[in-house]
């Protein structure tokens, strides 16, 4: 009897193709592959599993209860899609709720995905406000018809004209300056007066840059392109890329550490990354960042965080009020300070930023930056910017 069963099972296995993958499953899933035939036993003690399930259910219930939103009238709620994610933002939103009684619901994500999601949801979207980082993204959201024009004296007053859409569809909320950062022991501070100087042969092998997929690199190039024209930009790109110490960096913080360590002589980076390292609780980061000097090239490229009220907003009025709140001199400063950025107007009160001094911002408008983005990317690719 024993033998017959064994033969039969083997035949069954052969017929059913006991494969390596199913063998993997047998290993991974705890199936008893040795015979005695035919019992399959769980490798787990049932009580342990029940306990685990009960614990998991409790935890999830807790999470569900705490995150449960109270049903509120639609005018009392503003839904925000945001590319920013700073915990201090939430304190600002809470302050907005205290002042206006309007609650802020938030989805924070990657900027491009937020835009795509808004576009796909169309008129069904629950979002009232889209907040995103970078000129080209704001312009793209406008081109995709995701924003609606809003009339607001407060916004027109608090946001300079070159930092908002001429059609009043989006408004900058904070500024991100991108000067040159230099390690003086490696590169003569007087050598660099403008972005054009980054192509100087003295910098060969000493310059570090972010990669092409970074929006900061793209809008820097768009800035130069708008001011200097195509031919000059091509020449500049060629010289500068030749100077770059490969490989290109995928983030600013390691790049700034490399400048401090003397691995790079100069780099182009946003000031808030340096400010973050300078105020870090990590002694090594602080000491390293103190070796880095900010060189305010003339004019300095500025990018923005900006927002607008969505085309299909159910509460456009609440959305407008939120934007007004975030760009107002008092709370706008908090919105910028959360990430050591500059407010839309003025220099803010951030002590670290003030220690860097002030700068002459590029005359190129945010709209122009967005419009030249695609051409800039093409030129960068041609020049071999990885």
């Amino acid at each position: 009897m024993e033998l017959q069963d064994g033969e039969r099972l083997r035949a069954w296995e052969a017929q059913n193709r006991v494969t390596p993958v199913s063998k993997f499953s047998a290993v991974a899933f705890g199936i008893r592959s040795s015979y005695p035939f035919p019992m399959i036993k769980s490798q787990f003690h049932p009580h342990v599993l029940h306990l685990g399930i009960a614990a998991a259910a409790t935890v999830s219930l807790l999470g569900g209860i705490t995150s449960a939103a109270l049903a509120q009238s639609r005018t009392q709620v503003v839904n925000v899609y945001s590319g920013r994610h700073y915990n201090t933002d939430k304190e600002l939103y809470a302050e907005f709720t205290r002042q206006t009684g309007i609650r802020v619901n938030l989805i924070e994500g990657k900027d491009d995905e937020m835009i795509e999601r808004l576009r796909r949801e169309g008129s069904k979207s629950l979002a009232d406000v889209l907040i995103t980082v970078d000129a080209a993204r704001l312009q793209r959201a406008k081109d995709l018809n995701l924003f609606r024009p809003i009339q607001s004296a407060a916004l027109n007053r608090d946001v300079p004209a070159n930092l908002r859409d001429p059609g009043s569809q989006w408004f900058a909320l904070t500024r991100r300056a991108r000067p040159v950062m230099v390690n003086p022991s490696n590169v003569n501070l007087g050598l660099i007066r403008s972005y054009g100087d980054l192509a100087r042969p003295e910098l060969r092998g000493k310059l570090c840059m972010r990669d092409r997929s970074s929006v900061y690199s793209q809008s820097l190039t768009a800035d130069v392109l708008q001011r200097a024209g195509r031919a000059t930009t091509e020449k500049w790109l060629k010289g500068m890329v030749a100077n770059v110490k490969q490989p290109f960096f995928t983030s600013d913080t390691p790049m700034l550490r490399a400048v401090g360590q003397g691995d790079c002589g100069a780099a182009v980076a946003n000031t808030y990354y340096l400010a973050r390292l300078l105020t870090s609780d990590n002694a090594a980061d602080q000491a390293n960042a103190k070796k880095v000097r900010v060189v305010w090239v003339k004019p300095t490229h500025v990018n923005v965080t900006g927002g607008g009220v969505t085309r299909h907003a159910d509460n456009p009025d609440g959305g407008r009020r939120l934007l007004e709140f975030l760009s107002s001199p008092t709370s706008g400063e908090g919105y910028a300070a959360a990430n050591n950025e500059y407010p839309a107007k003025g220099w803010g009160n951030n002590a670290t930023l003030r220690s860097f001094g002030t700068f002459t911002a590029s005359p190129v408008t945010i709209q122009q930056l967005g419009q030249r983005n695609r051409e800039a990317m093409q030129l960068m690719e041609q020049a071999g910017w990885k």
Binding site: A14, A28, L49, T66
Partner: protein, 518 residues
């Protein structure tokens, strides 16, 4: 070994027609297949009928991305195969001090997602003046995160098959090395191939790590084309290339499977036939088995130690909320996925007709599709319909991880002899009765373990969650990603540690199944 003397019959052929309820079963399976396929169909429909006319072409960057992914798959495949096989053989066929512990330790790297390894190594390296960048590092890190697949499969093969041949060869004076290369390795080759295939699919799907390391890849290219460049046709074209690579991998794996069948008929012997290692050989074996798990633990540990002063503890209530959402989403996805997997597996058992088998295969395709692509597909048709984001989210998880839940069930069902079903059916039970009173009690183990794997995969999952979650619904993985992409490493640490703990707990749950083969 010849089996044709007693041809086993399929259940469908012999079972009496008890009730028409099997049609309900087929219909349910069909529904699952269609639901799984819907996002993909929507995606290609959308790409083909895209509003903006874009020239169909991949361009220079497309070629670069294809090359990048191919090199990654190749590099990780070779390195992972060598490492996984070497450790698999040494721990299965040799005896040395600490072997048991080291064997279990091979499951540890599974707990660490590649994107966490990459992010922490890059950050730690930048303090030391080390540039962690490029293809070489990407291959190393992806190998570390994925070689366990090869190890698990090959070691099972080494300890389970080829004993008689090996005994015979030893009696003819064949030594350990020759025994490995001439007997064990050829026998285990299909298992190794299957392991490499599984890990290669993970590599094709990898997004976070390759981005951070600056390696151009198909998964990143697809997303950028779609979202940044507004070129859905180009994105669909690149997805097709990704699917083609996966199809080649699956085909290769099936070819190897066919070869493997003949090796599985040997009954296991209980004779002790391990090679004892002493002195420097034992030391070498210990080093080989120790280094990869040690590296997997050390990288995040170094990072945490280095970034400790920066640690900004998330408020406890916030952490509990994040973990609560991660866990509740994972629980819901696990229940749905396990249910769907069970239905499909049972349906294939009762109706092993070609279309049903095909359907069950197609439903499992989600595993091979990058999560970000799947999420786009769900948004494409879910957005205009105004479907609830939570529904889409769980749908996406189910689609992506159905295979993970189903593989264990398939394997377990194959091991339940048809005579059981036949007996039950002859007593007048319908498929539902057989399921409840025969299959379910026998499948409880694999169902629970499969569910556990799905659970942890969902907790670690990033692209689908990021793209589809509703308002104020961040999870652990989402928070880690946001902090890491803002380059705020200190803040990312708390949620990251929680994810790794979940992963460790799950990989520990696999230990008993490894032990069984000792």
């Amino acid at each position: 070994m010849e089996t044709s003397a007693h041809p086993p019959s399929t259940i469908a052929a012999v079972s009496p027609a008890v009730g028409h309820s099997r049609w309900a079963l087929s219909a349910a399976a069909c529904a699952i297949g269609i639901l799984a396929l819907l996002p993909l169909l929507a995606l290609f429909w959308d790409a083909v009928f895209a509003e903006q006319p874009s020239p169909l072409g991949l361009g220079y960057s497309g070629a670069e991305q294809i090359q990048g992914t191919l090199l990654l798959v190749l590099g990780e495949g070779i390195l992972g195969a060598v490492l996984g096989t070497a450790i698999g053989w040494v721990t299965a066929s040799c005896r040395f001090p600490g072997r048991r512990l080291l064997r279990r330790a091979q499951l540890v790297p599974m707990a660490f997602p590649a994107y966490l390894l990459a992010a922490s190594l890059i950050d730690w390296g930048s303090y030391q003046g080390l540039r962690i960048h490029g293809l070489g590092w990407a291959v190393l890190l992806l190998t570390l995160a994925n070689y366990s697949y090869v190890f698990l499969l090959s070691t099972e093969s080494f300890s389970a098959s080829g004993h008689r041949l090996l005994d015979a060869s030893r009696s003819l004076g064949v030594g350990p090395w020759a025994g490995f290369f001439r007997i064990c390795l050829p026998i285990a080759l299909p298992s190794i191939g299957a392991g490499v295939t599984l890990s290669a699919m993970e590599v094709v799907n990898e997004l976070g790590a390759v981005r951070l390391l600056g390696v151009p890849s198909l998964s990143a290219g697809i997303l950028d084309r779609w979202q940044v460049e507004g070129d859905p046709k180009g994105a669909a074209l690149l997805s097709l290339v990704a699917l083609a690579i996966v199809a080649v991998l699956i085909a290769a794996e099936r070819l190897l499977r066919r070869r493997s069948r003949r090796w599985n008929l040997e009954s296991p012997s209980r004779v002790e036939r391990a090679w004892g290692l002493r002195g420097w050989r034992a030391l070498l074996a210990q080093l080989l088995c120790l280094l990869p798990p040690l590296a997997a633990v050390t990288i995040p540990a170094l990072w945490i130690q280095q970034g400790w002063p920066n640690l900004q503890a998330e408020p406890l209530t916030e952490l509990v909320q994040l973990a609560g959402r991660s866990v509740s989403l994972a629980l819901a996805a696990t229940l749905i996925t396990a249910g769907a997997a069970l239905l499909l597996a049972i349906c294939v058992r009762w109706r092993p007709a070609a279309p049903v088998r095909l359907l069950s295969w197609v439903a499992g395709l989600g595993y091979a599709i990058p999560g970000s692509v799947l999420a786009l597909g769900l948004i494409v048709f879910g957005g205009p319909l105004g479907l609830s984001p939570l529904l889409l989210l769980v749908w996406g998880y189910g689609d992506r991880f159905l295979t993970v839940g189903k593989q264990g069930l398939d394997a377990a069902l194959e091991r339940i002899p048809p005579s059981m079903d036949e007996t039950a059916t002859s007593l007048g039970w319908s498929w539902l009765g057989v399921l409840r009173r025969v299959h379910l009690p026998l499948l409880r183990g694999p169902l629970l373990v499969g569910g556990l794997l799905v659970f942890v995969d969902v907790v670690k999952e990033l692209p689908i969650t990021l793209a589809l979650r509703p308002f104020d619904f961040d999870t652990l993985a989402v928070r880690v990603f946001q902090y890491a992409s803002d380059e705020r490493v200190g803040a990312a640490m708390g949620p990251a540690v929680l994810i790794m703990l979940f992963g460790l707990a799950a990989s520990l749950a696999l230990v008993p199944s490894l032990e069984r083969h000792d």
